[in-house]
C-alpha cells in the first residue's frame, strides 16, 4: 500500500513585547516564581483585561509579511476549561474573527524547488502559566509568571507531505518572526512551540485520514523525528488491521516515540463565546499602512535581490538570507570585500563550519564581517592566496587581530615577484631533474598527474607563499621548453 502523509502545524510564538497582552506585567523569562504575576494575571476577583497595542502591531506585521488578509474587526473569545495553570478558568483567545486570515509562506525544499504552504489564520491569545511536578511530593506547584504573555498562534493548512517539509516550514516561520523582530524564536525557552497534526491516507484518496496531534515539540530535530515515528506508528497500526484514534500525543525523545496524553482524552467542550470584558478590535487602514511602510525587507524579497544584485544562485541566496543576521553579515562582507561570490563562499563554507564547530550563532561569530571583508580584499589583490587565507581566517578566529596584522606578523605575504618565483622554480626543477625527464617523455594523460607533483614541490619550496597562478604559468612554460 502506498501511503501519503498529510501534516498541518500549529505554531505558538511568544511575541517580544515588554509587557503582557492584557496586563502591565513584565514578560522577562526566568524570574522567580510568581514575581511577574499581577492581579490581572492571577485572575483575582474583579480584574479586567486591557489590550497591549504592540501585540496588535506585531500580529499585523506578521499578517502583512505572509500576504494575509488582516481581520480589520477582530474579536477576542473565551476558551473555557479548568486547569491550574489557567487562573481564570478560561483563556482569552480568538475564535471566529482572528486578527490574521488566510496567507502563505514559501519554503525551499532540499531539491531546490520552492513549495507554497498555506496559512489558514493567525490569532492572538494569552499564554498559560507553568506547572512544576517534580519538587513537591503529592503536589504540583504553579508559577503564573508566564500567564498572560502574548502569543500569536499560527495555523497552517494541511499542506505538508513529509517531516522534512514540516521542518522547512517551521524553520521558515522561525526565520520570519525573527526577521520581523516579533519573536526571539528561542525554542529552548519556549518562545516558539510547535503542535504537529499528522495523518496518513492511501495515495490518491481525497479524504483525509484520522489525525493525531503531537503537542509541544520544541526543537527542529525533534519535530522531524516525532513526525516520522508517528507516521510509522499510524502505518503499522493500519497495516495490522487497526484504526487510528483521534487523540493528543506527546513525543518522548528518549524513547523516540509518541504516546497518548491520558488527561486530555476526554473531548473538551470549550464553550467559546466573545469575551464581554473586551470590545472588538478595529484596525484602521492608516495603521496598517504605517506598519507596511515600516516592514523590513522580508526573506523572499531578499532572496530575489541577492540573486539579481549579487549574481548568486537561488540556493545560495536562500541559504544566505535564511536569517536576518546572516544576510546582514554577508552584505557587510561584500561591501568591504567587494566580491559577492567570494564572500558567499567564505560565509557559507568556512564561517559556516566554524560556527557549527563552536556551536554558536552568527551574531556571536569570532570573526566580524569587517574582518572577513578585509581578508577578502587581500585575496583579491593577491597579497595572499586562497589557501593561505584559511590560515589567516583561523588566526582571526583565535582573536589574533585583523587580516593585515596577521599577514604581517606571520610573514604570510604571497610571493608574486616573477623573478623570485622563476628562480625558485629553476632550483626546484634542478633538484627534480629525473622527474622532469620523465614528464617530458610522457604523454598528455600522464603529464596531467605529474604536473601536480611539480606544483606541490613548488609550493613546498616556497612555503606556500608563491602565487599559485604564476607558478602554474611559469612552470608550464619551463616544462614545455
Amino acid at each position: 500500500m502506498q501511503w501519503e502523509v498529510v501534516i498541518g502545524l500549529e505554531i505558538h510564538t511568544q511575541l517580544a513585547t515588554q509587557s503582557k497582552i492584557f496586563s502591565g506585567s513584565a514578560t522577562t523569562f526566568g524570574s522567580e516564581p510568581n514575581t511577574q504575576a499581577s492581579l490581572v494575571d492571577l485572575g483575582m476577583p474583579g480584574v479586567l483585561p486591557v489590550l497591549n497595542q504592540e501585540a496588535v502591531r506585531m500580529a499585523c506585521m506578521f499578517g502583512l509579511a505572509i500576504d494575509a488578509e488582516i481581520g480589520k474587526r477582530n474579536v477576542f473569545a473565551r476558551k473555557n476549561y479548568f486547569y491550574p495553570d489557567l487562573p481564570k478558568g478560561y483563556q482569552i483567545s480568538q475564535m471566529d474573527l482572528p486578527i490574521v486570515g488566510k496567507g502563505h509562506l514559501d519554503i525551499a525544499l532540499e531539491d531546490g524547488t520552492i513549495k507554497r504552504i498555506g496559512v489558514t489564520r493567525a490569532h492572538l491569545e494569552e499564554d498559560a502559566g507553568k506547572s512544576l511536578h517534580e519538587d513537591f511530593s503529592g503536589s504540583t506547584g504553579i508559577d503564573l509568571n508566564r500567564a498572560g504573555t502574548p502569543l500569536l498562534e499560527i495555523v497552517s493548512e494541511p499542506d505538508m507531505r513529509s517531516a522534512k517539509e514540516a521542518v522547512a516550514y517551521v524553520k521558515a516561520i522561525h526565520a520570519l518572526v525573527r526577521y520581523l523582530g516579533i519573536c526571539d524564536g528561542n525554542m529552548a525557552e519556549g518562545s516558539l512551540r510547535c503542535d504537529c497534526n499528522v495523518s496518513i491516507r492511501p495515495k490518491g484518496q481525497v479524504e483525509f485520514g484520522t489525525r493525531c496531534e503531537i503537542k509541544n515539540v520544541n526543537s527542529f530535530r525533534f519535530i522531524e523525528r516525532a513526525i516520522n515515528t508517528e507516521i510509522q506508528r499510524q502505518i503499522d497500526l493500519i497495516e495490522d488491521g487497526g484504526k487510528v484514534v483521534q487523540e493528543t500525543r506527546l513525543y518522548d525523545p528518549n524513547k523516540d516515540e509518541t504516546r497518548s496524553m491520558r488527561s486530555k482524552e476526554e473531548a473538551n467542550d470549550y464553550r467559546y463565546f466573545p469575551d464581554p470584558d473586551l470590545l472588538p478590535v478595529v484596525i484602521e487602514d492608516s495603521f496598517l499602512a504605517s506598519i507596511r511602510a515600516g516592514l523590513p525587507e522580508l526573506p523572499p524579497q531578499k532572496v530575489e535581490r541577492f540573486q539579481g544584485q549579487y549574481g548568486l544562485s537561488a540556493y545560495d541566496a536562500n541559504v544566505l538570507a535564511s536569517s536576518r543576521e546572516q544576510a546582514d553579515y554577508f552584505e557587510e562582507v561584500v561591501k568591504i570585500g567587494g566580491d559577492a561570490k567570494l564572500a558567499a563562499n567564505w560565509v557559507m563554507v568556512e564561517l559556516g563550519s566554524l560556527l557549527n564547530k563552536l556551536g554558536v550563532e552568527i551574531d556571536q561569530a569570532p570573526v566580524s564581517a569587517a574582518q572577513l571583508g578585509g581578508m577578502l580584499l587581500r585575496i583579491r589583490d593577491n597579497t595572499i592566496s586562497g589557501k593561505i587565507a584559511k590560515t589567516v581566517f583561523e588566526a582571526m578566529a583565535a582573536g589574533e587581530g585583523d587580516a593585515d596584522s596577521i599577514i604581517e606578523s606571520k610573514g604570510l605575504k604571497q610571493v608574486t615577484d616573477t623573478g623570485a618565483i622563476d628562480k625558485m622554480l629553476d632550483e626546484m626543477l634542478a633538484a627534480n631533474a629525473e622527474q622532469v625527464e620523465q614528464y617530458r617523455a610522457a604523454d598528455e594523460a600522464k603529464r596531467g598527474k605529474m604536473f601536480g607533483f611539480f606544483v606541490g614541490q613548488a609550493m613546498k619550496a616556497s612555503k606556500g607563499k608563491a602565487n599559485p597562478g604564476q607558478v602554474n604559468q611559469l612552470l608550464k612554460a619551463k616544462l614545455e621548453g
Binding site: 509587557s19 510568581n34 514575581t35 474587526r73 513537591f136 506547584g141 504553579i142 508559577d143 466573545p274 472588538p280
Partner: protein, 95 residues
C-alpha cells in the same frame, strides 16, 4: 428541551460543580423549569438580526506596551490557601 439526569451530570462536570446524588432530581427540575422559560425565545423571528454583544457599539482601546506592575507576590500570596517557595500548590497533576 428537557434535561435528563445524565445531562445534568455532564453539565456539572463541565462546570466542576460537585453535586450529591440526592440533589440531582431537584436540580434537574429547577434547570428544566428555567430552560422552559428560556425556550420561549424560539418563538421570536430573528432572521437576519446581528447579535448584540455589547450595548454600546464601541471598539477596543489599546494600551501602550509598558511595564507598569511590580512584584507583589507576598501581598497576593498572603491570601492563598496553599503555597510553597512562591508557588501555588494543588494536588499532583499527572500528564
Amino acid at each position: 428541551m428537557a434535561l435528563e439526569r445524565c445531562d445534568v451530570e455532564k453539565i456539572a462536570h463541565l462546570a466542576r460543580l460537585g453535586l450529591n446524588d440526592g440533589e440531582l432530581p431537584r436540580i434537574t427540575d429547577a434547570l428544566n423549569s428555567i430552560l422552559g422559560l428560556v425556550d420561549q425565545m424560539q418563538a421570536v423571528d430573528t432572521t437576519g438580526i446581528e447579535p448584540l454583544a455589547h450595548p454600546l457599539e464601541a471598539s477596543q482601546r489599546l494600551r501602550p506596551d509598558q511595564v507598569t506592575e511590580s512584584n507583589q507576590r507576598d501581598t497576593y500570596q498572603a491570601i492563598a490557601p496553599s503555597t510553597e517557595n512562591g508557588l501555588y500548590l494543588v494536588p499532583k497533576v499527572i500528564e
